[in-house]
Symmetry: C2
Amino acid sequence: MSDHMINHRGPEFFELITECTEKLKQVFMTENDLFILTSSGTGALEASIVNTLSPGDKVLAASAGSFGDRYADLLDAYGAEVTRITFEWGEPIDPDGIRQGLKDDPEIKAVIVTHNETSTGVTHDLQSIASVVKGEFGKLLLVDAVSSLGCVPLPVDGWDCDVVSTGSQKGFMIPPGLAFISFGRDAWEAQKEAAMPRFYFDLEEAKKYLDRGQTPWTPNLSAMYGLRAALENIMDEGMEGVFGRHASIGQFTRDGVRAMGLELLCADEARASNTVTAVKMPIHIDGEQMMEIMRTEENVVLAGGQGKLTGHIFRIGIWATLNEEHIQEVLDALGRVLPRVGF
Amino acid sequence: MSDHMINHRGPEFFELITECTEKLKQVFMTENDLFILTSSGTGALEASIVNTLSPGDKVLAASAGSFGDRYADLLDAYGAEVTRITFEWGEPIDPDGIRQGLKDDPEIKAVIVTHNETSTGVTHDLQSIASVVKGEFGKLLLVDAVSSLGCVPLPVDGWDCDVVSTGSQKGFMIPPGLAFISFGRDAWEAQKEAAMPRFYFDLEEAKKYLDRGQTPWTPNLSAMYGLRAALENIMDEGMEGVFGRHASIGQFTRDGVRAMGLELLCADEARASNTVTAVKMPIHIDGEQMMEIMRTEENVVLAGGQGKLTGHIFRIGIWATLNEEHIQEVLDALGRVLPRVGF
């Protein structure tokens, strides 16, 4: 990431963006168009909405956590007519609920869903959801994969996901500052009529520039250098290796937490996330104090709960280059700190 | 920029964003709100529009180059009713033209203008423009300062500029990936009624988060580490030092180019940019070939012309840490290469 700057309209950048885009498609397991945006993951989510929909379009938003809610808020901001189907935070989204929602209103044009809900530590059953949305109803499927892509299986073409958005700072193991979005055939069809206003996140413009190895606006070059290196690592390991590693460390984390007498927020082991583990805060424990001691004395930064889960859970992120030794250190630190706060 | 990642909802980030924001205000010479966005400069320009205007609002867009045109395109994309006042590319925007435009249509709500037109090497007379727009007519003034801020004087409060946007990769001497925007009192007044849709670039949301030392979305942390270091350098040198250095190297570049028998695009020396020098391509010279030899044999990357200036000019960027020795190397290389292509 410390390489010197290059002309982003020149031949060196052409090579950089071409290599990154081709390898990203392998991680996304897609032949769809794929764009690198200079923004955080939320920028890609905005792109997924404004490039496919018009104000007034009916959209089904399935959510079981704060990131699912945020994606739906984005629809509201741009004037879509949103039907929200919500599930208990900590539980998986039920594909039957989506099926019912689509039956109830045939005018619904698209469904948005979060693959891995970072706020609750649940990986939703995207494969089943996609088979309902695309297979049964032929609706547009927009997926927030910020905390899943490059960690757990998400074969974009295999599951037929029209638009999939993610960020650089989780599965891709580099700092935040880039977002990636795949955009399929049905999405381009929708784009032709999509009347929501867009400029910075206009993917038609991005496609024109990508065809000549550029981005419309000045790109985050440093992060792209990091991305190139990260993608080489991922290609060397292979996607099956990446998924196996995350599955193994996810299991290790959950087993370790339960062995300490703690309870997971997600009771459904088959849907427990392999990228973030959400742990119920034991009652009578001051979570703020616990996390503060962990941070200042143990050098372990845990995340608290968001929204209505504030104070009720803490979360352990297990993305990217973390290994079992790191997680064991976290568990050992928890073993020292929790008794001090009354557990 | 290689520092390890931190929790962007934690106390270390609070310190980072607070320090950067306070020092950015000193560079902007403003007490207005100031936001750090994870995007390129165009993202800040989009923020300037969508946070102040509604679809159908009448806006005067003054332009004399491709970046001025791009800013106006952004207004079109979001449904503003745009009156374009255009000036010859290579000439400064005439404040009288803006005065006439505002007289002609009292319903105009805002004026957009590019301070330094990178495509032509002209620094427009923003002080006079602001005195017309704000002083005489009391309209909202939105300024694209991507290639001027932190290089040439732009006292945001002194000139009463409501919204000023810039990027990280020019005056701030760090890689692209961050944008900065100042947002003043009249802009907040306009924001209350601004109905353009916004989410990623919603500054009301950004303000809520900034008040607790955060950003709404995951920020480009690496670039913020670089920004902190760059701002320390700028503070050490002082704004007068920064401006004096750019004025001196701008003059050095223009004198050197003219001494070679070349002609500048900007005939008005008082308005020639101190951050980019646009040089007329001598007739009968193959500019593509000349720039290719410069790049491959002399390791000097020049920029060509954009839009209707393609093939007619080449440009020398003189931002940031470049010194006279660097420019002398560019001039020496030009002295070797130009005769080879027939000059």
